[in-house]
Amino acid sequence: MRIGLRLRENSCRSLVLDGRTIVSAAREIHAGSIAEALDSALAGLSREFGSGVREITADVGHVLATRNLADVVAVRISPRPPADAFHAASVPPRVEAAVSRTVHVSGGHDMRGRPLAQLDLEAFLAALPSILSGNVRNVAITSVGSTASTDHETRIADAILSNDSEMRISISSDFYSSVFRDRDYTAILNTALMETGEELAATLDAAGQRHFPAATLSFARNDGGRAPLPRLAVAPVHGLRPEPASVILGAATLAGVPNGEVVICTDSGVIVGHLRGGLPAANSLIRQGYEASLASNAAVVESYTANHPIRPDVSSVIADLRIEQTTPPPFGLVPTLPAAQDVALVGCAAAPLTSWIDRLETVSGRTDLEAVQHRAEEDAQSAAVQLGANPGQIHIIESNVFAMPYGNPGIVRIRVQAAGETSGGKERFPTTEARRAAP
């Protein structure tokens, strides 16, 4: 059995899933703090289900999104600093407000991984004492071309940590985007959330150890998968917006549909997502209008319109999650799932371990391309094993090669997603046959 949790500042909502069956419907505990609500919720579930629970996955997105951001020093590495205010990197206002200081360091790489400018480590080391003597403990480091070479980012990070190993550092190359401002924004937000991530991970771990010592605890990721709790302390942005993916995955899980379309009617509108190999189809960016995007793999969810193409040969799941259901769903949609289920919590409970490889490779021809793609698939599988997946239960969900318009000839982007389960979690993940049925 698997538990899905949704944490708020003063509440914990939980649901227990066994395969595709809800064995304990969503219930919510309110208390004076997260720790109390969580402890109370898990104590009750422990009494009821005891050692039958193998996996617990928590959606911590709401807590991460509502906590104050920690102050951050943003280190930006590029050949030259902006010549005027218009050309300075800009991030969304909430995150900009968290940046207490910006430090420019000369450096950066081109797409071939060759230095555009020598890293001015000396100048950075001269500025370092003033960074470390302040109250700010969080640093984001973003370098031009760090998708091709992480060298300058890691050298700056090493310089900081060798002087103060307690600093929380986020480097932008941990997040794939070919856009400087996306990586900069993501690295800043990530480090600003690290303290909250650490606290949540510790709280969840303590409660889990107390009530379900044999279970594995994870947090729900934005892509519909999950990752072990320690990752929450270092990459909290991947747990910031898991709910859209969880809703899609939850509805599909209840319907037993690993490949197809999921339509969700909510009070604020109708959304649609797609399942592929048992997981929501995902993009590498969470777009936010014309502002910087969050470089985190996340489910693709679009608004449903009257023009939505209907395809009879594609499985379709329709869930009506509206609180007020006195009128039928719009667009003549007929729900295929029973109402009044917390499908997002189902998705949270059902989430498999997911890993991504997203990187640039230089290739000289088709054979070479196939080799680097195969290597990326192996690396994605290894990454899933490192997260705790059973090597025999890992599947490649997505494996794509992207040409780079106006890029260096021979440089391609390889993007691979792997998913798997721990040895006790095989009941939900779709069979190979089901996954092969993907359109």
Binding site: P82, A83, H87, V144, R366
Partner: protein, 360 residues
């Protein structure tokens, strides 16, 4: 007659610039739009017709040439284009009186506005492509035998170069090599010419066309209505509403020195079952329907989300997506014998002649 551009014009231009070059990620357009809107708070921006200039006025094309590092990964620091214009003036011993876009689409459709704000030079509502082509030699000015050089360049590191080459293809080769070594992109000023030459050989109304496309795309109206308006404005045809079935990288051999490697997308029409094939290298070069040419470069192709009518960037195309394939003609100059010689499929290594060749 010159026009003072408004903030709304710039927002629509952003949409139109993306529409005309859906192969390229639009983030750099968004970054530049923000810069332009900020700068416009302090200064007005003038869009002029080439006819308003004195025939002998010196005008230059400004634009990014890229091969490697994405502009959005290293946005210009802000002094590059002014440096190029200064270098051009020093080289020619004359003042530049106005600027125009090297290519009226994507980022190069936006850049002249920022440069205009920085330099206080008017921006001309003309360009030498009427779209984006990968090579700087693929221009209507080249068709008209207007000299491409001197070409002033400034890269991400602040390093500069001046290229002087009488042959546009050689200029392309030299500039492309320099761009790679300058870091992946270079701000450039090129095709210095008189207003009279631009008037005779340029594509006109190209900035205002982008704004008009954006007005249609951004309007609060139905997708069907938008398609009708686009069809009227651009003489556009929807070739197919089709589902992506296969995406292939390195799908064709290439040895032409074009940036990026070729790729292909295969789709199946939702209603007819026809097989659609898109051949891509930086731009969508060819649309085949059941093996027959439905559109071929220099024809223009835009992919639209069939449900929302929004532009689909090639980066976002996934197997299973349903897209509308919209084709429309390029500027008339491109269908001359000289224009087709520069920009038909053969020029991109695809051994096909443009269908209009046989009617020419």
């Amino acid at each position: 007659m010159s026009t003072q551009l408004t903030a709304d014009d710039v927002r629509h231009l952003r949409t139109g610039a993306h529409f005309l070059a859906c192969a390229i990620d639009p983030t750099a357009i968004h970054v530049y739009t923000d810069m332009i809107l900020q700068a416009m708070e302090h200064q007005s921006l003038e869009l002029a017709t080439v006819a308003e200039l004195a025939p002998d006025d010196l005008v230059v094309a400004v634009g990014m040439v890229t091969q490697g590092l994405f502009i959005a990964d290293m946005p210009p620091v802000g002094d590059e284009f002014l440096g190029c214009i200064n270098a051009m003036e020093a080289k020619l011993g004359r003042r530049v009186r106005a600027i125009y876009s090297l290519a009226a689409a994507n980022i190069n459709g936006m850049i002249p506005l920022m440069v205009g704000l920085q330099s206080s030079l008017p921006v001309i509502d003309s360009d030498p492509m009427g779209r984006v082509f990968p090579l700087i030699s693929q221009t209507t000015l080249n068709i008209g035998q207007v000299a491409i050089s001197p070409i002033a360049m400034m890269g991400v590191t602040g390093e500069r170069a001046i290229v002087e080459a009488t042959n546009p293809q050689r200029a392309e080769t030299l500039v492309r090599a320099l761009v790679t070594e300058l870091g992946g992109w270079a701000a450039t000023a090129m095709y210095p010419c008189t207003a009279a030459q631009l008037k005779e050989h340029g594509v006109h109304g190209s900035v205002s066309r982008m704004i008009r496309i954006g007005q249609i795309q951004d309007a609060e109206t139905s997708v069907e209505r938008k398609y009708l308006m686009l069809a009227e404005l651009l003489d556009a045809t929807r070739v197919a509403r089709a589902r992506v079935t296969h995406i292939e990288g390195l799908s064709r051999p290439t040895d032409l020195g074009l940036p990026a490697q070729p790729s292909s997308v295969t789709l199946e029409d939702e209603s007819t079952g026809q097989i659609i094939r898109l051949e891509i290298q930086n731009e969508i070069l060819l649309v085949l329907v059941d093996g027959a040419i439905a559109a071929a470069v220099p024809d223009m192709v835009t992919l639209l989300n069939s449900e929302h009518g929004t532009v689909v960037t090639l980066d976002d195309v996934r197997v299973g997506n349903v897209v509308d394939v919209l084709t429309y003609p390029a500027a008339a100059q491109w269908y001359s014998q000289a224009g087709l010689a520069l920009a038909e499929p053969k020029a991109f290594g695809i051994p096909l002649r443009h269908p209009r060749r046989s009617h020419a």
